[in-house]
């Protein structure tokens, strides 16, 4: 792998130049407690330290709502509405979110690829950023705290800038023109500092070990009383899935025009926390109660993604941080698996 270094000052300049390649999105502070990926106007607004954004990065490749087709009802023809090939650059993506994107890839770019997602992914540049965990993070037990694929560049914080890992050819091409100007060679001190950062980071996680056996306990303790207790509190609001970086559910609707000749076929994010997610004709619901729906997410998120060899849940902590009912996903999982004191 190629490693380069960039100073903090030059990073701002690098971001300026990225803006010329495409639309640049990066973490911004949007309120007292919340961050979000926003289009970068002033590079000085970019937050290099943040825990999690309120909206997951998948939205740049798979927007909340999009028109898939327009149609002609008389000719019975669909006209695809593929996204433009404008470049989207995501700066400051944490490793959990990078793995989450790869879990999305495994579903949306399989043997029957989703052309909308695929096109945006191909036109996307992902630049990772190191982070320090808070008590909501558990990416380490999900084994995704350090990524080796899924990014074009990855910025590791140093006291005086960043050590940058170059992950792809696209990444090389971003660095090449500014080699010597913005980017310099990595020296042993930088490596030493990166080690120190990683060591400090590792010690900060409130859970340790790994949770690979969790999914078996999920199944062995299907009727764990936790589900009854916690689903009682649940509002069925869907925040946990809508903020989740690896949730993929969507619904589709046809909206005809007033004259009935044309219309749009749209898709928008759905959530298994909603009643209609499992509903079929004749009013039969495969996930009838709030508890069924609550349970569904716990199973889904802990299921295995063979492409990343991890669970779909990457431990970003969003579903807890953004749960209005303050339901503690991490704690509840530990209760099911019987993990004590955070150690497995």
């Amino acid at each position: 792998m190629r490693y380069v270094k960039i100073s903090k000052q030059n990073t701002y300049e690098f971001l300026e130049r990225l803006k010329k390649i495409g639309t640049l999105y990066a973490p911004h502070k949007i309120s007292e407690k919340f961050f979000d990926f926003c289009e970068v106007d002033d590079v000085k607004d970019v937050m290099f330290e943040y825990q999690r954004t309120i909206r997951p990065p998948r939205r740049f490749f798979y927007p909340e709502r999009e028109v898939l087709f327009t149609f002609d009802t008389r000719k019975v023809e669909l006209y695809e509405n593929l996204p433009s090939d404008k470049k989207q650059i995501l700066f400051g993506v944490h490793s959990c979110d990078i793995v989450a994107l790869r879990t999305m890839d495994s579903k949306f770019i399989d043997d029957q690829p989703d052309p909308y997602y695929k096109s945006r992914r191909e036109n996307g540049i992902v630049i990772g950023l190191s982070c320090l965990p808070d008590e909501y993070c558990f990416c380490n037990v999900r084994r995704v705290e350090f990524v080796d694929a899924g990014f074009d560049l990855f910025f590791h914080e140093l006291p005086d800038g960043f050590l940058v890992r170059v992950g792809t050819v696209v990444g090389h091409k971003l660095v090449d023109p500014y080699e010597g100007e913005l980017f310099e060679e990595v020296c042993p001190d930088d490596t030493e500092n990166m080690s120190k950062f990683e060591e400090k980071r590792t010690s900060m996680f409130t859970t340790q070990g790994n949770w690979d056996n969790l999914r078996y306990f999920m199944e062995l303790r299907l009727n764990h009383p936790m589900y009854i207790r916690e689903s009682e509190k649940c509002l069925g609001c869907g925040n946990c899935t809508l903020t989740c970086p690896s949730c993929k559910c969507y619904d589709v609707q046809d909206i005809p025009s007033i004259d009935g000749r044309t219309g749009e076929r749209i898709r928008f994010w759905d959530s298994c926390q909603f009643r209609s997610h499992g509903l079929v004709a004749g009013d039969h619901n495969f996930r009838e109660t709030k508890q069924d729906r609550f349970h569904n997410r716990y199973q889904c998120k802990n299921s295995y993604c063979s492409a990343t060899t991890t669970s779909f849940c990457v431990g970003c902590g969003r579903c807890t941080y953004f749960c209005p009912a303050d339901i503690q996903f991490k704690k509840n999982l530990m209760e099911i698996a019987g993990y004590k004191g955070g150690y497995s």
Partner: protein, 291 residues
């Protein structure tokens, strides 16, 4: 995988549909109609293939899409049939279509029944209600490839006699069926006035002409039926490796994307549209929540 060419191959957009013209429609029961469609594009019409147990997404532009099992024989080419129940928003409008109308079709989707595994075995097909739709495709496949299978029994059941799908078609086949070692059983479960057999599928096992040890079973009906049938079949010595059922879930995409048809638990998370809708005995009995 079969070498057959699907509509999706070589196509950019998996959600795009191919135009199909409705050629005929027949009333099968108060709420079910049979629709015969043909692809407008001659190339698709000649090359389109499917496996029994697979389904298509039928699109009425302006209304939406619904997953429907293909119920015709995979052998007859150039057209396909769908048996559709008037159940809601989209299906009620499909029922109103007149011959000559166009719909959008994409698919076929799903794994379908593993027909190759059934070769050289007897076949027991058990259908309840609308379950007859996909099983008709299996049944016709077996008849069209009669030499590949041993004895065949089909049990078609419904609550009421007039809800038995393809009742007359099956009746009309009875004569040649006997000559070909095919046993046809049609039974109404809750219809004392029905002039035919009464009771559930399980109460007609004496009419079954198959050898349990060397038989493949395909079932399609409500999950409650599967539970009872599994017990019955295992007790009678059927080989669990050759017992298959189909599952129904809400579906929007049919291609493993939209997430609605999810089933299973953390160790075995499945999408009924792509990993199914056909599942085997061991999947059903080892993964909680499938039935």
């Amino acid at each position: 995988m079969s070498q057959s060419k699907t509509q999706d191959e070589g196509k950019e957009n998996i959600y795009d549909t191919a135009k199909c013209r409705l050629l005929r429609k027949y009333k099968l029961s108060e709420s079910d109609k049979l629709f015969l469609f043909r692809f407008e594009d001659p190339e698709i019409a000649t090359n389109w293939r499917f496996k029994p147990g697979q389904f298509v997404e039928v699109s009425l532009l302006g209304l939406g899409e619904v997953p429907i099992s293909i119920c015709s024989s995979a052998r007859r080419m150039g057209f396909f049939e769908l048996c559709i129940r008037n159940a809601g928003r989209v299906t009620s409008q499909i029922h109103k279509l007149q011959p000559g109308s166009l719909v959008g079709i994409r698919g076929p989707y799903g794994n379908g029944f593993p027909m190759e595994q059934f070769y050289n075995r007897d076949l027991l097909l058990v259908a309840a209600g609308l379950g007859m739709a996909p099983l008709r495709s299996v049944f016709l496949y077996a008849i069209d490839n009669r030499w590949l299978f041993g004895n065949i029994t089909i049990i078609n059941s419904a609550k009421f006699g007039n809800e038995l799908l393809f009742k007359r078609e099956l009746e009309a086949m009875k004569d040649i069926a006997t000559a070909e070692d095919i046993s046809i059983v049609q039974t109404a479960t809750r219809d004392p006035d029905f002039k035919g057999l009464h009771g559930r599928a399980t109460s007609h096992f004496e009419k079954v002409n198959v050898d349990p040890k060397n038989c493949a079973v395909a079932m399609c009906g409500p999950p409650a039926m599967y539970k009872g049938m599994f017990e019955e079949l295992i007790a009678r010595g059927y080989d669990p490796r050759y017992i298959f059922v189909t599952l129904e879930r809400r579906m929007k995409c049919g291609v493993g994307k939209c997430g609605h048809c999810n089933i299973g638990t953390a160790t075995s998370w499945k999408y009924a549209c792509k990993d199914g809708p056909v599942f085997d005995y061991y999947a059903i009995t080892s993964i909680p929540g499938l039935i």
